[in-house]
Amino acid sequence: MLDERPTAAELVAAVAEFLEKKATPQLDAATAFHAKVAVNVLRIVERELAQGAGVDAAERTRLGALLGHDGELAALNAELCEQIARGDIATDNAALRAHLLQSALARMAVDSPKYPSLKNAPSP
């Protein structure tokens, strides 16, 4: 991340604000709908810029503990997928379930923080 102002997150926020407040009212209904989607996408990017590194680091630490070794996040996730598919880790393994729930909740805070199912999630 560059040591500059505005920060990347502040730039993204500026574009989202422009789309929402200035551009959208000038658009026809169909294009305005897509502009609304575009604003939502920019809000995801804003949240990812703020939280992404922490979410990834925590997921990687948990994966390392679960698999018994360190590695790149994508490689660790691929290895976990293989272990689940082969049955090396049981589908009802409590540590596995807890890790997956924590990962899903952390990424939901970035991707879809108002999703209705969130209120049904047990606290991890």
Partner: protein, 331 residues
């Protein structure tokens, strides 16, 4: 779409379905899906009788639909058979194939009602309908599953095992590894439901594909994913979180699973194991997740660039959460 629906082609594909000579008084394009285009058509027949019709035709080559579905002929014949056997569905007047202007499609009666999920789930106007929809849907499902196979065209046979194989192959082809999806695939493989006699399955029975009036269900729409398989697939798909549109009620956003299963048992005269409906709800949720991947990779691979398709890729996380909650019965 290369060509537009015009008066002459409508009269041509209607053939002798209505008394000649026919006059087309209105053609209005309605919002179409990815794989079909739908038009409202008003026709006056030779006796001066007015007919409110729907013309539905294949969107043609290059369809970006997740599932190609059956052909328009099979779709029309199945819907027509359903309508004749007590399913609330529009009667089919004419089927056409390789028409020079319109390609493949069919013409059906136009029924009055609302299909937009958020209106059905929130508007005061549908308060009475909402109290009846679980029973109405259970009755419609039981009627679909009772349609004699002898009255149906040749349809694909899609067992749970076969669908699971297809879905996993599609998921793996995207190359994105998602442990919650791997967990769901493995969990489903360990719980394949017992084989039972094949029945007609609608394949996309959900809020959004139901036409509803003030008094309840008017018609079941969108028969393009019909197949032969396990009837409980339809009950599970109906309960998938994506079709609740913000409502807390699992059965289409209108009711509880228990109410749906009880009504379905009453209407079908069969016993239902809730664990098997749960299997299909988990399967359907995973299927929705792979559909989200499919949509976003259509964007990423340059097949259909759009910000909407890009955005849907991040909805995969919602499905991961839903799968984990569903496996533990928290949803």
């Amino acid at each position: 779409m290369a060509t537009k629906v015009d008066h002459d082609s409508v009269i041509r594909v209607l053939g002798d379905a209505l008394p000649a000579p026919l006059t087309v008084t209105r053609i209005a394009s309605l919002t179409g899906g990815a794989s079909a285009e739908t038009c409202a058509v008003d026709v006056t027949d030779g006796r001066g009788q007015a007919h409110a019709l729907i013309l539905r035709r294949s969107a043609g080559e290059g369809s970006d639909g997740f599932n190609p579905g059956v052909g328009k002929r099979e779709e029309a014949q199945t819907q027509g058979a359903g309508a004749r056997h007590g399913v609330p569905a529009a009667a089919v007047l004419a089927v056409f194939e390789q028409d020079a202007t319109l390609g493949n499609g069919y013409v059906m009666q136009r029924l009055e009602g609302e299909a937009i999920a958020r209106k059905l789930l929130r508007d005061e106007r549908y308060a009475v309908a909402r109290t009846r929809l679980v029973d109405d849907c259970a009755r419609a499902l039981a009627a679909i599953h009772r349609v004699p196979l002898a009255d149906l065209p040749v349809l694909p046979e899609l067992t749970a095992a076969k669908q699971l194989d297809q879905l996993e192959a599609m998921h793996k082809a995207f190359g994105q590894r998602i442990p919650a999806f791997s967990l769901a695939f493995r969990w489903l493989r360990e719980r394949l439901p017992p084989e039972r006699p094949l029945a007609l399955v609608h394949g996309d029975f959900r809020t959004g594909n139901l036409l509803v009036g003030d008094d309840g269900l008017v018609a079941v729409l969108d028969w393009e994913l019909v197949h032969l398989g396990d009837p409980l697939e339809d009950l599970g798909w109906f309960c998938v979180p994506a079709w609740r549109f913000g409502s807390d009620l699992p059965a289409g956003g209108f009711g509880s699973r228990e109410a749906l299963i009880a009504a379905y048992e009453r209407e079908s005269g069969t016993r239902v194991d809730p664990a098997e409906v749960h299997f299909w709800e988990v399967f359907g949720t995973l299927r929705w997740g792979v559909i989200c991947q499919f949509q976003s990779f259509a964007h990423l691979n340059g097949i259909a660039r759009s910000v909407e398709r890009a955005a849907i890729g991040r909805r995969v996380t919602e499905v991961e959460l839903d799968l984990l909650l569903l496996l533990d019965h928290h949803l």
